[in-house]
Assembly symmetry: C2
Homo-oligomer: 329 residues x 2
Amino acid sequence: MTTLKKVAEHTGLSIKTISRVVNNDPNVNAQTRQIVMDAIREVGYRPNAAARHIRNRRSHTLGLITDEVATNPFAVNIIKGAQECASEHNMMLLIAVTSGDVERTAAVVETMLERQVEGVMYASWYHRAVTLPDNIYEAPTVLVDCFVEDHRLPSVVPDEFDGGFRATEILIQKGHQRIGLINLPLEVPAGRGRLAGYRQALQHYHIPFDADLVRTNATGQADAGYAEACALIDVANPPSAIFCGNDRTAMGAYDALKERGIRIPQDMALIGFDNQDFIAAYLRPPLSTMALPHYEMGRWAVEHLLNPPQSAAPIEAMLHCPYIQRASV
Amino acid sequence: MTTLKKVAEHTGLSIKTISRVVNNDPNVNAQTRQIVMDAIREVGYRPNAAARHIRNRRSHTLGLITDEVATNPFAVNIIKGAQECASEHNMMLLIAVTSGDVERTAAVVETMLERQVEGVMYASWYHRAVTLPDNIYEAPTVLVDCFVEDHRLPSVVPDEFDGGFRATEILIQKGHQRIGLINLPLEVPAGRGRLAGYRQALQHYHIPFDADLVRTNATGQADAGYAEACALIDVANPPSAIFCGNDRTAMGAYDALKERGIRIPQDMALIGFDNQDFIAAYLRPPLSTMALPHYEMGRWAVEHLLNPPQSAAPIEAMLHCPYIQRASV
DNA sequence: CTGTTAGCGCGTTCAT
DNA sequence: ATGAACGCGCTAACAG
């Protein structure tokens, strides 16, 4: 290993002078600096981050724990957002996957704490309440796409209500008056929030709410989406547009409509939610949908960790879900 | 911060004795050990990984650099495989995304080197040749799902040839004699390897090769897959089965077949490649396909870093692509 | 079985 | 502008 000492011996200067040069201390003679720089290149010196960490008491490290996100294509942009933001702030990311297991999470947090991470993020692959081990409170923490029941930890999640409202509004503004909803189960925030947004939009535009037009995709999968779409088509007074609780539901709905020769969007408009990679864009016609702000949540989390607000109560940030216009509306 | 010293003062013992307990040194009196353990709990001592790193000269850290994999749902299982394997070996993963930019990669490698990573992995989101900065040679490195032209670095990639061979063989064993191929471009290893496997299988089973049955999906996307499938259906003597170079191609082919009322798999068998999340399983009927061993490549890379073979020449490992049987064959 | 000494690579005193 | 000495938290080597 090449150390400051090596460079010092190589130049006949003191360790401290080398250190000054490495750290851009102005109190160094220009000539000396040049000599040192040359020597550094020559011997191939590289600072030792661990030693610096010990002295400066800063690890320049953030931990990112995920239940399954690293393994779930769905939410992987959280990693990208966090990583890029961290990198802009000279921080590195330590990652770990826990499969949501609390004990495993505790162990992972423990090792991160031993490494003196300056903050930890816990990310879920879908918006939900999570159970976390106690030791996570020992580090500054931000929850990404999830929250704890008692809201003792700051978190950043998608604004489901607003997304539901705007998805419905887009359909209304296209002239639709009967709008079906194939919702996600009410057990998840996405289901509750999007439904509430849907109802609010209806009310705002003076369109009566019709319970026959609201169905639930219990599994969130494409096959159930197919079944619910069929049911929706078969009601007495069928809708002219369907707001699908997620893109997989829409994927199933596409099949149902195509089988019956119902054209999208001419005969039936469809709007999805999630902007799920490799589905939304590749469906035929490409699916218009509300995007989940994964990348932005990742960034927000790092930003918040590096720049915590003074406020006493932990924040719950709700990020905007942008509309991705394609060809199904 | 709680240090060994604190615990030592708390117990009246020497620092070294505390250290022994923490490190499970057998040379400690059982009673002393108990006293120390209690004290550790009481003062909330936690070892400092950076200090250990300096002393032991081991960082217990591996770097994972990705061009876009962290951001690309497609290959994210590389992370999961690497992470799990690392974790089993008491190592943590430092990750970085470089978007394939060589200078950025050089900078990232530099910071990883400063942190004395014990190895670095460079992962690509699809099998291809990559250009890497010189400093990557300063750390033990494994390339994942990619390789350098001169093969100076060990790498692990999918066995494209074998996958192509077996995909074709599966179709043949189902009784098909005329088998179409919508291949990926020959510029990528996947295109070359899968085509070679296809031809080899044909030859092995004494089925003549017919150039009319081989088409190329230039973009690898679903819409081009649709077009090529249409073309294949329209040849004079059409195939009874199609081997699609990737699942997105198959996704497009599904649309082409459905439009024409051709049933899958009764009228036309379809086999994909990649086992792409949220596509293969959700297509109707679910797509039978060859899975890319992303998870396994991630594991292999860590294993190789932690347990490098003695051989002089860098290995290029080719991992098996398992057949995922669903309902399209 | 336990403690002392030394030193990992670095940066902060405080001198010179 | 430069350097000597000390200490960060930890462990290896060597006493005792």
